[in-house]
């Protein structure tokens, strides 16, 4: 039976080439837009390089202090993270790093812009950077205030040119010479808490990070639990700690900071009153609705037109005893075949679109790709489309009166 429906579907598609083209155009382009969007989101928030232990990590990126005369919200100080967060029992590791900052270096009268960040030793135990050569700095090297650096592949080729190994060579940044001890694969700048060109021990910072007892500063932290099951306990312990900590000064009466999952910390708005997750989800939902509602309406329109055209066929089938259910079923199958065909074209188009976007290098090191999740989502969307745009026309069709349908000819 299904085979027959398939044959009919193909025959119908070939009869009215213009309508088929319109339907396929709508489906495939909508799908392309959705696929590129999901590929982008998947890369920006779903990519787990270099923090592969996300399932047992929590991220601390912000502290907000509120008082009568206003509020301030910022990344945290090294003191706050090492002193308060460092006293927690559940985390087995506490990676602390400063947010990247820019400086320049000049090689052979050429300017190179360099982003650098300072980290502690635990940071390298939690993160799984792919080292193309060398390794990370150790706790020993940090305590000795060794001027050593881990650099990115981009930095290596820009500063040293095309040479096989740079371990042991010196890189000058910020007027200081550092010995290169490791080279890591690039991280896109969209992972802003992990991205940098040069990673340095926090003890070599020109600003003494361990000095001062202010709460706000330029650092963020990653807390690693022993297992994924320990994560809720770690979150509770963090919240309990926040309730215990004294206010930084008299002008504030409330303090907020959370240890959150990667995605939650990523979309944080910097304001306790506004949930970043809600804003992002609302924006995406509105965008997706706009992009899908119009083509769906269009498809419904086209489908109704097609059915009316086939009223004689429907009349004949009804006259010979086909039930409404059978007809609706047949029509839905036809429609799903059409949408899947559109979906196939859509996947090809998305593939091309993603290649084009990648070739523009809009964001350095952000290489989009169609992965299986994205493909799966795409197929689901297709199926949903097929049903959505087929149900109403099919229902209209099944209501068609045999006599009028036959008489129309």
């Amino acid at each position: 039976m299904l085979k027959n429906y398939f044959k009919i579907a193909i025959a119908v598609l070939r009869r009215r080439k213009f309508f088929t083209f319109i339907s396929l155009f709508g489906i495939s382009f909508t799908l392309t837009i959705l696929l590129v969007l999901t590929a982008f989101l998947d890369k920006v928030v779903g990519d787990s390089y270099p923090d592969r232990k996300r399932d047992r990590s929590l991220y601390v990126t912000r502290l907000q202090e509120s008082g009568k005369d206003g509020q301030s919200s910022s990344t945290l100080s090294y003191y706050f993270l090492s002193h308060f967060v460092g006293s927690l029992k559940t985390p087995v590791k506490l990676g602390i790093s400063t947010i990247y900052e820019g400086t320049n270096t000049y090689v052979n009268n050429k300017k190179i812009a360099v982003n650098y960040k300072y980290t502690n030793a635990d940071y390298w135990d939690i993160m799984e950077y792919d080292f193309t050569e060398g390794k990370a700095f150790s706790k020993q090297q940090i305590d000795n205030v060794d001027k050593v650096a881990v650099i990115s592949e981009d930095m290596k080729s820009e500063y040293f040119g095309d040479i096989p190994s740079v371990i042991g060579k010196y890189i000058e940044a910020d007027n200081v010479k550092y010995r290169v001890i490791g080279v890591v694969k690039n991280v896109p700048i969209t992972s802003y808490t992990l991205y940098s060109d040069i990673y340095l021990p926090y003890t070599v910072s020109k600003t003494d990070l361990t000095k001062g007892k202010g709460y706000l500063g330029g650092s963020t932290a990653v807390l690693l639990a022993k297992s994924a099951a320990d994560v809720p306990r770690m979150r509770d312990e963090y919240d309990a700690m926040m309730r215990r900590i004294p206010m930084e000064s008299k002008q504030f009466n409330k303090m907020y900071s959370h240890a959150e999952s990667y995605i939650r910390s990523y979309v944080d708005t910097g304001n306790e009153g506004m949930s970043g997750v809600t804003i992002v989800i609302t924006t995406i939902v509105i965008f997706v609705l706009l992009v899908t509602v119009l083509p769906t309406l269009n498809l419904v329109n086209i489908n109704i037109t097609r059915i009316m055209e086939r009223s004689s066929e429907i009349g004949v089938r009804k006259a010979f005893g086909a039930s409404s259910g059978t007809l609706v079923y047949q029509f839905l199958v036809e429609n799903i075949i059409l949408t899947l065909l559109g979906g196939l074209i859509g996947v090809v188009l998305s593939f091309i679109a993603i290649q084009v976007i990648n070739s523009f290098h809009l964001i350095p090191n952000l290489i989009l790709s169609i992965n299986f999740t994205v493909l799966g989502i795409g197929l689901l969307v297709c199926f949903f489309f097929g049903l959505l745009s087929g149900v109403y026309p099919a229902w209209r069709m099944s209501k068609l009166n045999v006599v009028t349908a036959l008489k129309a000819q």
Partner: protein
Amino acid sequence: MMFKHLFKLIWNKKKQNFLLMTEMLFSFLVLFAVFTLLVYYYDNYKKPMGFEYQNVWVVSYNNAYQTKNADSLNNYYEILRKSIKAMPEVRELSFCSFNTPFSNNMSQGRVTYHKKEFYHMNFYTADDSYQATMNMQVSEGRWFNKTDVVAKDKPIVINSDTKEQLFGKGTAVGQLIVNGDDKDKMMRVIGVVQSIKVKGDYAPAGLGLYQRADTGSLRWFGKIMVQVTPDASAAFEGRLYKTMANYMKDSNIEIEHLTNKRTSINYFTLIPMIVLSIVGSFLAINVALGLFGVLWYNINQRRGEIGLRRAVGASGNAVSSQLIYESMILATLSLIVGSFFAVQFPLLNVFDLSAGIYISAMLLAITFIYLLVFLCSLYPGRQAAAIYPAVALHEE
């Protein structure tokens, strides 16, 4: 009379027309959103930049020299200023607050004038040579100079947007503005400068006022604007960097060019604009194709009716214009509903844009939809006109 008849025809096919109308309504709303954004960006784009950024560099430093002694602090920065100024490639330099043009730093507050409050006022702090470094145009009064030290009320220079909002066409120089709502914090306007579009070409300049830098500001400053000659090379930049880094041993130094910073800040407005335009035009094409298909099919369905009209003497033109009118009426109906929604934006002042932007966007979207519908019904209409009454009626 004729319109009444057309309405009747539309009403008879209300089920099918309803879907078509919903489609037009949605495309109108999408186009309205896209055009609002485009008009807003264009409106900002055509305003002047307000200063010359081409040969200006921003030097950032942190963790600078700290001392309780005001004299030695002044001295420290005076030596730095002299040694940079002595370089032949440097024309002018100025110490200023963090909120430099094309950066993400902001410092906003509230001012009161005649009991009226103005929020989102940008507070800039800069020294006497800032105006010369940035080549800003003074339209009224003057920029700061040494005589301002002894002024009774704190002297400020406001930008042209602030002048327009607070004083309209009147004179601004000599007026008193209150910082926050504290009566003791009076500021006297001594000059008006052209507004600087600090967030790039496509964003509004916003309200802004400049305060004069004093010894206290040197403690928290972290930026130096340097105007260089057009032939300043990377080799010179390296020298400037070394001079700074050797003088401020404990600081991290970064030199950026305003031309590059402008490009990257514009990028963040341009990319969403391009993506939205692509999505918008895809939807428009989609709607156009759908409309074309449905109208074309309708004409094939109505061959009998059209044939009959031709037989009783209607000209080909009359038939085709009837069909075009029909779709135009459909478009009008959905545009009325759509405009009802769209007009809420200026009425409720959503997103804080001026009403003119919404209205131009609405007009553009309406024109666009009419044009789209007209073009899509043109060909089917012509086809209908070509129907021979004899052939069409024979089929019946």
